[in-house]
């Protein structure tokens, strides 16, 4: 909802808002320049003294004005011609011709009315309103993204465009909100919607009829400091009934030209004072520094427009295109999708078009943002849900369970839940099971029992489809061939082989970086941005299902590296093990945000065994700032499968690695990495108490053993792996 409120004003008003922001930024320079060039009035100088100096230089002076920048301008009428000049308040001498700056006037007219008069003023006010909505919703989105208002300035991750958008936004948001609010106020004032009319002193009943009082004998002028002056208008020559009119920051007064007496005074109203302050802050006239700050903030707007548009387009491209997707309000059947990498969307598209052939209007939507009110005609819901990690909601289903739990009542139209997962993982379809369980608990009727699809099996899906068709009374044939993610050819640069002697043939494969398009760079897609711990999906020949390997390198390293152990009869590992430099594989990138070292400077405890060293080595290589790192590495025999042995030596020397503790399971004193942890219990416990972060990578058994060992080690300190996980200090990458 907030996102939609942010997106549409942004897209609709982007050109107008950019034009206003750029002209505003350009205008902000003028008051600062004027301020610097204007000679300041001496502190004790009175209006009377200043006026006397000017009158000495220009006997026919008619008016003296002080701009908010402090610049004094005098106007006179001599010998039938008008004159005006900027004057030096210290001497009353002319400093140069006065007159509005052409460029400034042009920019001002563009900025406030687009040269279109009142219609233009209304358009610019609408743009200011859009800017205000953008600032407010943007602030809410930044806070949501950062995880709370207190973490407003927390470091940003994500694609370049997203980072730029947020970084610029949170710096500029206050200035932009302020500029747009004050702009709206000024428009309201211009159109007379505010009671901020200038005060006018009541006309005196009669003047003395005399002329020629000395300026110094006029108490009001003598008491007013020149720095408070706005305007002093002299009486018209030859009109004895005319008066001096003095306008200051606080009000307006009248002075008799014959006696020097003050004949009237009116204070400015509170509204007028507010309007003047707002005018001064918005334009920077009289507040040059604030004006420059606002101008700088405005400069961010065009960049935000570009990055925001890139984000919007990237988001649209990211979701698979669904042909013939019915509008939500007209849908008979609603398919809700919980997908992490996008493959579940493919199943949903197949299901949607197959069902649509029998007549009903089918709407496919993400599970996130679930709101049954959007589907008034829905006769049935079908939920297709993958699982992230060990039971978490996948990306397109974030918040679904909370929303379902918070509904006043479950929808009346019945539901069918189908889980997608990998049977070899412990949390097989765990999220989908949670969904089905909660649906039942909330009294949401099911029209088909909960079912699962293993490893994107077309057979499983077709079988479930027949069951669905039977319930609906149709002959539903679901023929889904998973569309493999678009891979790109990666050429092998080099390979290093280990572990043959100990029966664990393992290879470090290094691939060349593929070329990256500008679009990928901006949107942070493809190989434009990755780091150690992200996943490389490899599409082996002969199978449409990708296999994932943890990356042992980041984009900055300039190559793509993975560590692969050859499994007996393994299709993908076999092909990789046989790969020669120069040959290519088809691969794509998948992010793994759950396995990151995080920024901070807290020590890292890295624990890995076998090929699990890969991403940990990548983290070490990236540890250029010398964050304290302790690596526990489990291997079979130091002589055979000491992966990254040489690099580890070098990293220890140049400060990227503090300690390396190895555990060899073969040889003289066989032990595992969890045994090594127990032996170093005091060190580990001390580090964790001090805020260290634990990262574990390797096989499932090893991870379980490590977790148990850490449980024992940390128990005396009242800590556990589960507690650390809850704090985000325990990350696992398990296969």
């Amino acid at each position: 909802m907030i996102r939609a409120l942010h997106r549409w004003p942004g897209l609709l008003a982007m050109l107008l808002v950019s034009a206003l922001a750029l002209s505003g930024a350009a205008l902000s320079v003028f008051p600062a320049a004027e301020r610097m060039s204007a000679p300041a009035a001496a502190p004790g100088l009175s209006v009377a003294a200043l006026a006397a100096r000017v009158q000495a230089a220009h006997p026919a002076v008619e008016q003296i004005r002080r701009a908010p920048s402090g610049r004094f301008t005098a106007y006179w009428f001599e010998g039938g011609t008008p004159g005006a000049a900027i004057i030096d308040p210290a001497t009353g001498a002319d400093l140069g011709a006065a007159g509005p700056n052409r460029a400034e006037r042009w920019l001002t007219e563009l900025h406030r009315s687009l040269f279109l008069g009142d219609g233009g003023r209304i358009a610019t006010a609408a743009a200011a309103g859009a800017m205000l909505v953008l600032a407010l919703t943007g602030a809410a989105l930044v806070a949501r993204r950062a995880g709370g208002w207190r973490r407003w300035f927390s470091p940003q991750r994500g694609p370049l465009a997203a980072r730029l958008h947020v970084e610029l936004g949170r710096l500029a948001i206050l200035g932009l909100a302020f500029s747009s609010l004050t702009a709206l106020w000024m428009t309201a004032s211009t159109f007379g919607y505010l009671p901020d009319e200038a005060a006018t002193p009541p006309q005196p009943p009669a003047t003395s009829g005399l002329t020629g009082a000395a300026l110094s004998r006029m108490p009001l002028l003598a008491a007013t400091p020149a720095s408070a002056l706005r305007d002093l208008t002299f009486p018209a020559q030859g009109d004895a009934a005319d008066l001096y009119t003095l306008t200051t920051a606080t009000g307006t007064g009248l002075v008799d030209q014959g006696t020097g007496a003050t004949l009237g005074w009116a204070d400015n109203s509170g509204w007028q004072a507010v309007t003047e302050t707002i005018y001064s802050l918005h334009t920077g006239r009289g507040a040059a520094v604030i004006g420059l700050v606002l101008g700088l903030a405005a400069l961010s707007v065009p960049a935000m427009v570009v990055t925001g548009t890139v984000l919007w387009l990237a988001g649209r491209r990211g979701r698979p295109r669904l042909r013939g997707n019915a509008p939500a309000g007209k849908a008979d059947i609603v398919i809700l999708v919980g997908s992490e990498g996008g493959s579940t969307w493919g199943f949903a598209a197949t299901l949607g078009s197959a069902l649509g052939r029998f007549g009903p209007a089918v709407h496919v939507a993400p599970m996130a943002g679930f709101d049954p009110g959007r589907f008034p005609r829905a006769a049935g819901y079908i939920i297709l849900a993958a699982t992230y990690g060990e039971g978490a909601a996948p990306q397109s289903a974030r918040g679904f369970l909370d929303r379902l739990a918070a509904l006043a009542a479950a929808p009346r139209a019945p539901v069918a839940v189908l889980g997608f997962g990998d049977r070899s993982f412990p949390g097989y379809c765990a999220f989908a099971e949670d969904v089905a369980r909660l649906a039942e608990a909330r009294g949401w009727p099911a029209f088909l029992p909960f079912d699962r699809v293993d490893r994107q099996s077309p057979q499983d899906f077709a079988r479930w489809g027949r069951a669905l068709g039977a319930v609906m009374g149709i002959d539903l044939q679901l023929n889904h061939q998973p569309v493999p993610p678009a891979g790109i050819g990666l050429a092998l640069l080099s390979r290093r082989d280990y572990g043959d002697k100990v029966g664990a043939p393992t290879t470090i494969l290094r691939f060349a970086l593929p070329p990256v398009t500008l679009w990928q760079r901006l949107a942070g897609r493809g190989f434009a941005r990755f780091q150690a711990g992200d996943l490389l999906g490899i599409l082996p020949e002969g199978s449409p299902v990708p296999r994932f390997y943890s990356l042992a390198s980041g984009r900055r390293d300039g190559f793509i590296e993975i560590v692969v152990r050859k499994h007996e009869g393994g299709l993908c590992s076999g092909q990789l093990a046989a790969l020669r430099p120069g040959q290519t594989v088809h691969a794509f990138l998948r992010r793994n945000p759950g396995f990151r070292a995080g920024r901070g400077s807290a020590p890292l405890i890295l624990i890995g065994a076998g090929t699990g060293i890969g991403p940990l080595a990548g983290l070490l290589r990236a540890n250029r700032r010398g964050r304290p790192v302790h690596l526990f590495f489990g291997l079979r025999h130091p002589d055979s499968d000491f992966l990254y042995g040489e690099e580890l030596d070098g990293w220890r020397r140049d400060g990227r690695l503090d300690r390396l503790i190895t555990a060899a399971s073969r040889g003289e004193r066989p032990h595992y990495v969890q045994d090594a942890l127990r032996r170093e219990a005091a060190l580990v416990a001390g580090l964790v108490r001090g805020g260290a972060r634990v990262m574990v990578c390797g096989g499932r058994e090893m991870a379980a053993g490590v977790s148990a060992a850490l449980g024992e080690i940390l128990a005396p300190a009242g800590l556990s792996p589960a507690l650390l996980k809850a704090e985000g200090r325990y990350a696992e990458d398990i296969y």
Partner: protein, 156 residues
């Protein structure tokens, strides 16, 4: 390039001597290239003693800025009823303003004076930008304004 703004106004009946005999008077104003935004102009009539008689035209839509037409404002207090139906857009630099008003014959050659006040944003106010006696002899003769008006004339 001068665009011509032709405006016609028929003023309502006024309690003035010789009301029965009135004639249309065209007031023509050509602005100088003073290099600023559109000017606010007030054209009004005073009697021989300088006392305000009536307003003839006010160019400039926003009443909040009318106080900058200081001579007119002092005479009327900004009274909106004085300019009811006789207002129009402000007049840009180099542009012309032509309006026709009905004036009683008794006002002509009787010491009455036409005044024009002018004001421009961020520039000096100019009360009595133009003052010219309303006489038969003066009709059709252009007079210069002080700052913003290149020339002003009236025609019967």
């Amino acid at each position: 390039m001068n665009s011509r703004i032709a405006l016609f106004a028929l003023t309502t009946a006024l309690t003035l001597p010789g009301l029965a005999l009135a004639r249309p008077v065209t007031l023509a104003t050509r602005m100088a290239a003073y290099g600023g935004d559109g000017a606010y102009l007030a054209i009004y009539l005073t009697d021989a003693q300088g006392a305000y008689v009536r307003s003839l035209w006010l160019a400039g839509p926003r009443s909040k800025y009318h106080r900058h037409l200081s001579g007119w404002y002092r005479a009327t207090g900004g009274d909106a009823s004085q300019i009811n139906g006789i207002t129009g857009a402000s007049v840009g630099a180099g542009k012309t303003l032509e309006v026709t008003v009905d004036l009683a014959d008794a006002l002509i050659d009787a010491g009455y004076v036409l005044h024009m006040d002018a004001a421009v944003e961020d520039m000096r106010e100019s009360p009595d930008e133009v003052t010219v006696p309303l006489t038969s002899a003066g009709a059709g003769k252009a007079v210069r304004g002080r700052r913003y008006v290149a020339d002003f004339s009236y025609h019967f």
